[in-house]
């Protein structure tokens, strides 16, 4: 065992071993400007403060709070208990090193709030207009809480609106073969589901065309920022592009002559930041998942010569595949 540790580790192994702590030192990644807090953590922090503020209000003035949401101030005790719960969630979020537990407690609290509001609609003297507005506000907060809790749990770390994505897969081919295939960017649409074409325009530049949301086409120009033969290719979209996009692929011989470790790292700027990315994941459009599946298809092409598909096979229904289960496979 000690001999194995004494062997020089591959570059990616070293990087994994420190839990990604030196990620900021990677040459292709701009240093983040604003210290340690990610977008997810900041959002959680804001929601935590909001929780405490709302809780204090409920605790101090249950009557006013009741009138504000359109119910008669009959239950000051209940409102105060809800306030205490808000404060507890808020403190949980602000004091824990991992705020996800506190965030999930807010999600649970939102469910309770929405339940109480639904019950309030049945009360005889309720102000329906105010109740509806309060319910809409609570539903909005619930959505924010859920997305924030989900992104924290998934370990997403968005900085300056940029989300890093990493995927690794071992492929049964040599680094030379894999580098050569990838370096010809016009091959990429064969296994990257959302890409339509990549044209090399010379001088390390290329034009990328991809399918966007709702049948649109997105185009951008990219340049190679680092190119080490059989080892690494890094690229990013040039300034002025609609899409902020940067990526790097590394090829490292696997121990024991068992193919090549291929690692893709992408920097991606999701619309609406981490909330947009969280929402997209609900519809099977999680960019991290898409990168992993693209890499898997790259492996299929390099090992078998093609991407295996079920599109076009027979089935006893109108669609030959299942959008629910097979949809993600097709990007």
């Amino acid at each position: 065992m000690t001999t194995r540790q004494a062997e020089p580790m591959s570059r990616s192994a070293r990087q994994e071993a420190d839990g990604g702590a030196n990620r900021q030192g990677r040459p292709w990644q701009q240093p983040s400007g604003d210290g340690a807090m990610t977008q997810e953590e900041r959002l959680a922090y804001g929601l935590g403060l909001f929780s405490i503020g709302l809780g204090l209000f409920e605790l101090a003035a249950p009557g006013r709070f009741s009138r504000m949401i359109g119910v008669r101030p009959q239950y000051p005790g209940l409102i105060r208990v809800m306030g205490l719960r808000e404060i507890a969630s808020g403190i949980g979020i602000l004091t824990h090193r991992a705020p996800s537990t506190g965030m999930w407690s807010r999600v649970l609290g939102d469910a309770l709030d929405l339940g109480c509001l639904a019950a309030a609609f049945a009360a005889p003297h309720a102000n329906r207009g105010r109740l509806t507005a309060a319910t809409a506000a609570a539903a909005g907060a619930a959505m924010l809480d859920l997305l924030c809790a989900q992104q924290l749990t998934r370990g997403t770390e968005t900085r300056n609106g940029v989300m890093p994505i990493t995927a690794t897969l071992v492929i049964n081919r040599s680094p030379q073969d894999l580098y050569r295939y990838w370096r010809d960017f016009s091959n990429l649409p064969r296994f990257m589901a959302h890409l339509q074409s990549v044209e090399t325009t010379g001088d390390g530049r290329s034009r990328w065309k991809a399918r966007g949301p709702a049948g649109t086409t997105v185009e951008w120009e990219a340049e190679i920022t680092e190119d080490r033969q059989d080892e690494l290719i890094a690229w990013r979209s040039v300034e002025g592009s609609d899409i902020g996009h940067a990526g790097q692929i590394r090829f490292e011989p696997a121990p024991g002559n068992r193919g090549t470790f291929v690692t893709v790292e992408m920097r991606y700027r999701p619309p609406l930041g981490t909330l947009g990315a969280g929402l997209a994941a609900w519809f099977g459009k999680d960019p991290g998942q898409q990168v992993r599946m693209d890499l898997r298809r790259f492996k299929q092409v390099m090992e078998t010569g093609e991407v295996i598909t079920t599109q076009g096979q027979p089935a006893g229904r109108a669609q030959n595949t299942s959008w629910k289960y097979d949809g993600a496979a097709c990007g």
Binding site: T304, E306, T310, A315, G316, Y325
Partner: protein, 388 residues
Amino acid sequence: MKANCWYGKQDVRVVDVPDPKILNRHDAIVKVSSTAICGSDLHLYNDFVPAMEPGDIMGHEFMGEIVEVGPEVKRLRAGDRVVVAFPISCGKCFFCTQAMYSLCENSNPNAWMAEKLFGHSPAGIYGYSHLTGGFAGGQAEYVRVPFADHGTVKIENGFTDEQVLFLSDIFPTGYMAAENCYLAPGDTVAVWGCGPVGQFAIRSAFLLGAERVIAVDRAPERLAMAREGGADTIDYEHADVYDVLMQWTGGRGPDACIDAVGLESHMPGPLYYYDRVKQALMLESDRPIALRQAIMACRNGGTVSVPGVYGGFIDKMPMGAVMNKALTIKTGQTHVQRYFEPLLKRIAGGEIDPSFVVTHRLSLEEAPNGFQLFAGKMDGCIKVVMTP
């Protein structure tokens, strides 16, 4: 063409669907001559496997004649008679090159789903839910066979369909289960479940040198078939399985135990209802009753081999027994392609005639009836073979 499709719990129907086409360059199209219902199809039928979609064509045990091949198919041509392995295997990845075909890394386009459930994905499988790729299955007139060079064995002499059809799954599955027991001369093997896989496990254990096989079930016709195969039998409705096994092995326990039951096991007594309730409340997905018994009965240092299908999570797994008795657990979807040639030789040599297991011969149109018979163990049903 006609195909047997899944539409919901205990609802399969034979409907008209389009003919399959070549979709990948390594594909072939097989005109099915015989197809069977597998015990594992019953887990789909009873809705225990997630990610089924109404309209999915079922079936993964089939054989027939090649009618069309893709441009990259080298070993086969139209007119070849083949049996198809149930795991779809590329032949090129790390696992395929080591003959671990059911773990192929390239044949499941929905690998991400299986990764979420299992950590890693197994190979794609015909007609076996979208978790294993959502591939159209073999209970049909025609089937598309991906990576055809690596997923088929040519049948060149005059075997009947029923003699070779089960090379697609249950014969290699029973055989691998016995092989996984690392049998030494003189060994005693206990087999839970005398369905088709259990029957092949019993006979394979003898082929691989077991001295004695003890089979556990409750259906009289299945126990009778096990005795014809040379096994001693225990009817678990009328005897305590552990006690009898100890009496018959001098208190030491069987050298190896095979769980050929899987996730829908039964037993008399309240523990069965404990698992049924937990399953109904979704606190566990699988009922591991036979597995628990096998672990408790197995001799110290013995092997528990699990060809039975499990899909998710089990409860009250006696890990203390596994650890303190130094047991080995061996399991896995069958690496069918690995067994094609050796088992074909054993059939040719007259060591075994796999057709013994067939009890019902139906037309493909009667598939829903076949499922009913097999699932309900009605009319002495052990194995259904259908012809289009």
